[in-house]
Structure formats: structure tokens, C-alpha cells
Assembly symmetry: C2
Homo-oligomer: 529 residues x 2
């Protein structure tokens, strides 16, 4: 096996050498947080392959620190402080995680519109800072980029690409209710078995769930186009100097790199320019730092539990953290908890708090028995990669959906942070650790993840380079883009056929009546006469 590995490395190096003549210039319009963490892995690989990378970074940002980015950087100066950004984020996070699930259906819609508008305002601030900076645009034009990597949730990347007249490739997990994929990319999404994103539903739905899913798509379509997109349609039209829509520009994306794969994603229809590259950031575990290894080894046969709620949630309320700590104190496993808040009073001797943990290395450690996670795609994929069963505490965004998927595949148990009790968390933890089916199912997901024709990162890089080599990937673009929605659904054909049938029935009826009156009635009259 060592010999094979040696040849693999040599082979890759040789390929890099052969390909080195084809390097190009890549412009990046990134999104913050987990999106950036994931995209950075692709960018590092592209840089390793000799491409020159320039990232447009808003300043201030929350996680995206332009002074620490290992690529060329163009700073987009914003008229806002980091504190304001943090405040806005916390408001949205609190609303999504705690307020929304308690509200009635109609109030949720209202809040969603409110959040959508705030989100849109933030995006517009960043977009304005690039679009109105003529000097920057001229510099970017002069640099002659080959491609733009953008994120469909961070509007404007596609607009910059359009202004620079270069092809662009998207990378993301999904939009709310999959509206961008459905409306702008033409992705067929039968509501009967493809659960709308953020619904938390599975692909096996009851009648009521299918009804809910159908309405979710409809509501999202209406809300998105009415409250959010219309102002962007105007903005894009004004900037480009012609009548257009943001959806039309988004629909020009050459490739859609989706941050999931069929290991945990429910199988669904997709298009030739969609590539499912979930888990592209995963890699084998490295040895732990000495002190951490010692703590892990001290767990003996019971092993350890890894616990983190991701990069966006820093602290919990004192009540929540005490409740959690109390449950953790009752398991025989040692617990590594990434938490920067106040130390909970109920913290057990088996639990240690960390400001940061080498999550991937811990999940890949043979002593790890379970992962308590908010269900962010990156962390979840690391657990799948290493075959670790999970206890999911989903909060917002893609998290409820992610946890619904691993739960449906039998590799996780979920608990609701808002109504969770010490005993419900303890029960979930004990189930996942002691019932071997969770580990078996996590290993099954892991085997599927590892058994792909080509690694996700290689596929992502291949298609980005393909677009650079061929100046696009038009051959993968469905003709649905050239149809209106009623043509797409053949409604004009159906209406035409119904009209024909109605006309034929009408004429047949008229003829029958005519002949009846002309001959039968006359005959009767004559008879009577």
C-alpha cells in the first residue's frame, strides 16, 4: 500500500507539472462564516495548482479578516462598525433560533420578510461598495480574470462577473425553500418527495407534510420574488443599463457546486451543471496536541464526546449551559466542549471547556464515541467522514435540515434547544453512545462518503478549471432557461388542447342540436300534422 501511495503522490505532482501551463486568474466574491471556511479549502487547492486568487473582502467582516487571508485581497470599505454587524447578526440568530419556532405561521412569515429585508440591506451595502467604486472595477477589468467564484446567497458576485464579462461558478448549500435553485437554475424539485430546505422534513412525507411542503414552496416563491428580488431586479437593471432580473443573471452560473452529497442528502433530481461536493474539506485526522491526547486517553474504554455549537453561537444563557453541563456530568465519557461563555456551575469533572478544539482530529480519534453538534454542514461532514454518531441540537439555517437527514439515516438523535431538559439530553446521549445501530449507520454513511469515483474536492477543482479552460460550460446548461414558466410547465400546450376539446364538444353539440331540430323535430311535427 505504501508503494501505491508513493506512486499516487508522484503521479499527482507530475499532473500538476503537466497542467502548470494552464494556470489562470480567479476572482472571489465570498460569504462569511461556514461558507468561507468551505470555500477557502477550494481556493487553497486552486492556489496549490498555480492559480492566482484575488478575494473581494468587505471590511469590517465578522469571520473574514482581510489581514489574515492567504490570497490577494481587494478590500471593500463599508460604512458600518464591526459591533453593528455583530449586533445585527445576534438579533437575526436569536430570532431564527428561539423566536421563530414559537410564533404562529403568519407571524413567522412576517418575521421572515423582516429578516429577509435586513439581510438584503446588508448585501446591498457590500454590493454598493464594489459597484460604485469605479477605480476598483477598472482595476479588476484590467486584471483580466478567467473566472469568478461566487455564492448565490451573497448577491452581487454574479453582477460583478457580468460587469467584467467573465464566467462564474457558484458554491453553496441551498437557498431558503430552494428558491434560487428552482427559479434561477431551473432545478426540478417535485414537492412530493423533495423537502423544501429549512422545512426539517424528510423525503418520506405524510399527506399533511406534503401539503406543508407544497405550501412552503408557494409561500417562498411569493415572498422571495415580491419582497426581496424585485428591488434587486431594479438594481441590476440600473447597473447593467438594460432591463433584466437578478434571477436571469444568476441563471448564467456555469456550475453550481453544492455542499452536500448522497451520503446524507436525500436523493433528488438534479441538472448536469450541478455537482454535489459535500465534505470536500474533510481530511484524515492528525495526532492531537500532547495535553489533549492525555485528556482523551484518560477516558479509558468509555471514550470521549466532542461538543460544539459552531462558529456563530458563542454563548448560551446561563440556564441552558447549566442544563447541558448537568447532563454531560452524568455520562461516563470524558467531554470536550468548545465554549467561550461563563463556566456553568453544574460542570462535571469529566467535562472540559475549550475556546477552540481541533474538531476534525478529535472526530477522527478512535476514542470518540459521539459528537454533539448544531448540525452545520462542515462539522456534520467531518463526523460522517470519520463515522461518528451524533446528537443534533439544530438552531437555524441548514442545521434543522442537516440533522433531519442524519436522523432519517439512523446516525443521529435530535434534541430541541428551546425545550430540552437535562434528562432528554442525557437520554439522547446515552442512546447514541450505547445503541450500536447509531455507530453502524454513521459508519455506513462514512463508507458511502469515502467510496466515490472522485473525491469531492477534486471534482470541485475539476469543474472550476473546466470553466476556465473552455471559458464556460454551456453544454451543461438546460434549455429551460429559454422558456417562460408557463411554457416550462407546458401550460400553453394544455390550455390549447383543452380549448380544442372544448371547441369540438361545443361544435358537436351545436351540430347535434341543429340536426335534431332540422330532422327529428320536423319529423315529429310532420307526424303530428
Amino acid at each position: 500500500m505504501k508503494a501505491v501511495k508513493g506512486f499516487c503522490v508522484l503521479f499527482t505532482l507530475l499532473l500538476c507539472f503537466v497542467d502548470s501551463g494552464r494556470t489562470g486568474k480567479i476572482l472571489v466574491w465570498p460569504m462569511d462564516f461556514s461558507h468561507w471556511i468551505n470555500l477557502k479549502v477550494i481556493l487553497e487547492e486552486l492556489q496549490l495548482r498555480g492559480h492566482e486568487i484575488t478575494v473581494l473582502v468587505p471590511s469590517p467582516s465578522l469571520l473574514l479578516d482581510h489581514t489574515k487571508i492567504p490570497f490577494n485581497v481587494e478590500v471593500l470599505q463599508l460604512q458600518v462598525t464591526k459591533e453593528t454587524l455583530m449586533e445585527e447578526l445576534n438579533t437575526v440568530l436569536y430570532m431564527s433560533s428561539f423566536e421563530l419556532p414559537t410564533l404562529s405561521w403568519w407571524k413567522v412569515l412576517g418575521k421572515m420578510v423582516e429578516m429577509g429585508k435586513q439581510f438584503s440591506k446588508n448585501l446591498r451595502r457590500v454590493c454598493d461598495s464594489a459597484i460604485t467604486n469605479k477605480e476598483l472595477l477598472d482595476r479588476l477589468k484590467a486584471a483580466k480574470f478567467d473566472i469568478c467564484l461566487a455564492d448565490p446567497l451573497a448577491f452581487c458576485g454574479e453582477l460583478v462577473a457580468e460587469l467584467l464579462n467573465i464566467p462564474f461558478v457558484y458554491s453553496f448549500r441551498f437557498s431558503i425553500g430552494n428558491i434560487i435553485e428552482r427559479s434561477c437554475a431551473g432545478l426540478p424539485t417535485p414537492s412530493s418527495y423533495v423537502p423544501g430546505s429549512t422545512s426539517g422534513l424528510t423525503d418520506n412525507m405524510s399527506f399533511v407534510q406534503r401539503l406543508k411542503n407544497w405550501l412552503l414552496y408557494l409561500m417562498n416563491d411569493m415572498m422571495f420574488s415580491h419582497f426581496m428580488l424585485s428591488e434587486w431586479d431594479e438594481y441590476y437593471s440600473k447597473v447593467l443599463g438594460r432591463r433584466t432580473t437578478i434571477c436571469e443573471i444568476m441563471g448564467k452560473a456555469e456550475m453550481w457546486l453544492i455542499r452536500s452529497y448522497w451520503d446524507f442528502e436525500f436523493p433528488r433530481p438534479f441538472l448536469p451543471n450541478f455537482e454535489y461536493v459535500g465534505g470536500l474539506h474533510c481530511k484524515p485526522a492528525k495526532p492531537l496536541p500532547e495535553e489533549l491526547e492525555e485528556f482523551v486517553q484518560s477516558s479509558g474504554n468509555d471514550g470521549v464526546v466532542v461538543f460544539t455549537l459552531g462558529s456563530m453561537i458563542q454563548n448560551l444563557t446561563e440556564e441552558r449551559s447549566n442544563l447541558i453541563a448537568s447532563a454531560l456530568a452524568q455520562i461516563p465519557q470524558k467531554v470536550l466542549w468548545r465554549y467561550t461563555g461563563k463556566k456553568p456551575a453544574t460542570l462535571g469533572p469529566n467535562t472540559r471547556l475549550f475556546e477552540w478544539i481541533p474538531q476534525n482530529d478529535l472526530l477522527g480519534h478512535p476514542k470518540t464515541r459521539a459528537f454533539i453538534t448544531h448540525g452545520g454542514t462542515n462539522g456534520l461532514y467531518e463526523a460522517i467522514y470519520h463515522g461518528v454518531p451524533m446528537v443534533g441540537i439544530p438552531l437555524f439555517g441548514d442545521q434543522p435540515d442537516n440533522i433531519a437527514r442524519v436522523k432519517a439515516k439512523g446516525a443521529a438523535v435530535d434534541v430541541d434547544l428551546r425545550i430540552m431538559t437535562t434528562s432528554s439530553l442525557l437520554k439522547a446521549l446515552k442512546d447514541v453512545i450505547n445503541n450500536p445501530s447509531y455507530k453502524e449507520n454513521a459508519m455506513k454513511l462514512s463508507r458511502i462518503h469515502h467510496d466515490q469515483p472522485l473525491k469531492p474536492l477534486d471534482r470541485a477543482v475539476f469543474w472550476i478549471e473546466f470553466v476556465m479552460r473552455h471559458k464556460g460550460a454551456r453544454h451543461l446548461r438546460v434549455a429551460a432557461h429559454d422558456l417562460t414558466w408557463f411554457q416550462y410547465y407546458s401550460l400553453d400546450v394544455v390550455v390549447f388542447l383543452l380549448t380544442c376539446v372544448a371547441t369540438i364538444i361545443f361544435l358537436a353539440k351545436k351540430c347535434c342540436l341543429f340536426f335534431y331540430r332540422r330532422f327529428c323535430k320536423t319529423g315529429n311535427k310532420r307526424k303530428r300534422e
Copy 2:
């Protein structure tokens, strides 16, 4: 580059060696002609990787000669002569190629049903010979196969797999009107931009064409389920001893390996268990035999034209062959014509007839200027692989669709064999040879074909071995299989919502009337009183 190639070979050999512990047993239910030619390439690769292959071969067959198959063979003895088979085939070929296109719409439907029934009768003959042979089935059961490779157009492979309780993988191009993929695999196929197979339409349709396509799907659905499938439903139910349908059994296919790719196929929605592996048989050209090379070189700068109508059409009428020979005689290129019929009187000195030609080696020769082809998928892919523009003379089956695709991509001109004249064929030939756009477009298709993340043959083999390793690929199977057709299209949801709306309107109307009568009318009455 040589060093890289060397490493590639060494790397593949090493991988084969490492994988050798995972070899298995493969059962094959093949289909004759081009299907077999294509499948054989996959089987040879699988054999090379150490798997044991057993093919169930009907005898007599037309091209599938069980004495020449380089794998284990189980002969299915049929009560029919080879001559009868040939006669049946010729009748169907003549009907499809010459009769059908001249008939009215209704007569075509009648003929299609007739042909379908004949086709079904032939398949049933082969199926019976396997299913009723208890000794054979026991032997196959005892052999403990890991997988069955079948063809959805040669019914029964899936039934054998079901009886042996092993997973199966399909490999084919398409079914008529894509009915099997749509109805049994759950493949979404919007009629507005996915042209039904055998329609000869493109993905860019006028209103009338979309209407035609919509009706084609509907007609095929009705014809297929009514005239062909119902008897197979009964047959499968009887053999399996439970109520089932052929579609339900077909829907269990773990993978659908489709013999096309986005190089020439119109992009369309597909499912995770569909893999487009068109052109998997293509390979670099080998040097020509000396005599042939001499003939090709004698063409000088004008180059040569390669001409074949495939393995199913042996001869043409004297009138057709003379007409073709006369056109060929008028071009400056040398022509290599694969033809076993009577030598045409008008044959020019530049044209040479051959019983067989090394087609791939000729298409890969630098002197080849054009390919005159019936448009069979295998030959067409060899032309794409080598970037050779085409003159298409499609006859039946997938040929009109294939030619429509390369024509839409600007790499071919088509002529109709039935109404073709010497001058129309000559014009088509001159266009393709002298207008550089055809060569450019053929090269573009070739570049796309060669620029894939993984070669088609490797992908086909990977997924077959995946199914063997994991005893299936359930994670790629959409939940659409568990829905009825009205659930799939959410018709129950829509009907429910319409009923709700109607009830609300009805109740609101009743209430209004009630209040109107109760208060307004009473008020009026009182006023009048």
C-alpha cells in the same frame, strides 16, 4: 508526457492488484447488436479486473454468437431458426426505416403497436427459455452471483435478478418515448425542453413541436402500458407468485448506465442513480493495415471519407446504392464504404467497398475528412472522440435522435434515405467537408468528450463494482418510487386545496345569502310595510 503515461499504467496495475481481493461474480442478460458491442467493452474491463463473468446467451442469436463469447456462457435454447429471426428483423427494419415515415399518424400508431407486440413476443420466447429451465435457475442460484447486468429493452434480466435475489444494473441508450426511464425509474422529463426519444426533436422547440412532444409522451404512456406492459405484469406476477408489475421490478435497478453524455446529449434533469457513460468504448486509433494505409495515403491532401450504415443494414436496393455511389464518385476524396451488397454500377474509381472496416482506426486517421453514418450511438461516439464531422443518414431507433443532436450542435448535416437524391447527398458531403464550421464543432464536441473528471468506462466500472461492494446503491434511489403517480404530481394536495377553497367560497356565499335574506330583505320588507 511519456513518463506520465508510464506512471498511469503502473498506477492502474497496482490498483488492480490492490483491488484483487474484491473480485466477484457477474451475471449478464445481454441484448444483441450495438447494445452487446457496447456492453462487451464493460465486461472485458471487468474481466481484466478479475471478476468472473457469465453471459446468458439465446441461441440462435443474430450477432451474439455463443461460441465466440470470451466469457462463461449459459446457452438459452430457443425453438426458432436463425433464418426466422433474420426475417423478423428485416421486416421490422424495413417497416421502421421506410414504411413508417410515409404513413399517417394513426397508421404509425397501429404499426408501432404491431411492432411492439412482435418485439414483446421475441423477448417472451427468450425469457421463457430461462424461467422455465429449473435446472438452469438452480445452477445460477448455486453460483451465488453478486450482480446482474441487464438491459431494460431486453425484458427479463431484472426478473432473473429478482429470482436470484441479487442487485442489478442497467445499461442502455433509451426506451421509446423514454417511457421506462420516466415511468419505472422516476426520471423527471419536462416535455417542454426534453425531446422524447425517437421524436427527432431538439431541446429548442416551437409551440407546435412542444405540442407534438407532449402528445408523444402521452401516446407512448398509453400504448406502452396498455398494449405491451399489461401482459408482462401478469407474467412477472405469475413467475414471482405475488401481485407486481414489470415496472416495479425494473424500478429496483441500482444504477442506470446511459450510453450518452453531455458532449452531444441535450442537457436534461437526471437522478443520482443515472450515470451518463456515452463513448465508453472509444479508444485511440491504431495504425491501419498496410493495404488500407496505402489507399488512404493515395488520397493526398483531399483526404478520405468513411461510410457505413452499421451492423444491422447489410444491403440497400440497387436504386439507392447506385444513387449513393454516383454522389460519392463526384467528390475529390477517396471513399471507404463498408457494404456487402451488389457492387453499384455507378461506383467511382475513388470509392472502394469493404466487407468490414477498422472504423475507429479510420475515424482517428488524420486524413479522414468526414463520416457518412446511419447515426448509431457507437459509431457516432467514435466520430465525436476523433472530432470528425458527419453526414447522417438515420434509419430507425436512436439514429434520428442521435443525428438531430449532432446536427443541432453544428457537427453534422442530415439526409433522408427515402427521398435523398445524388445531388442532395453530394451537397451535404461538400458542405461538411468544405465548410470549416462542421470540423470546428466536431472538434468542440471532441474536446468536451475528452475533458471529463473520469473516463466513461471507469465510471461505468466504478458503479458496477460499487453495487457489488455494497450489495446495492440504495442511497441513490429517489423516494418517488414509494409514491403513486397522483401523489408524485401532488394532485391529491392540489385537489384538497381546491376543495378547501371551494368549500370556503360556498360557505361564504351561503353566509352572505343568509345574512342578506335575514337582515337586508327583512329590512326592505319592513320598509315596504
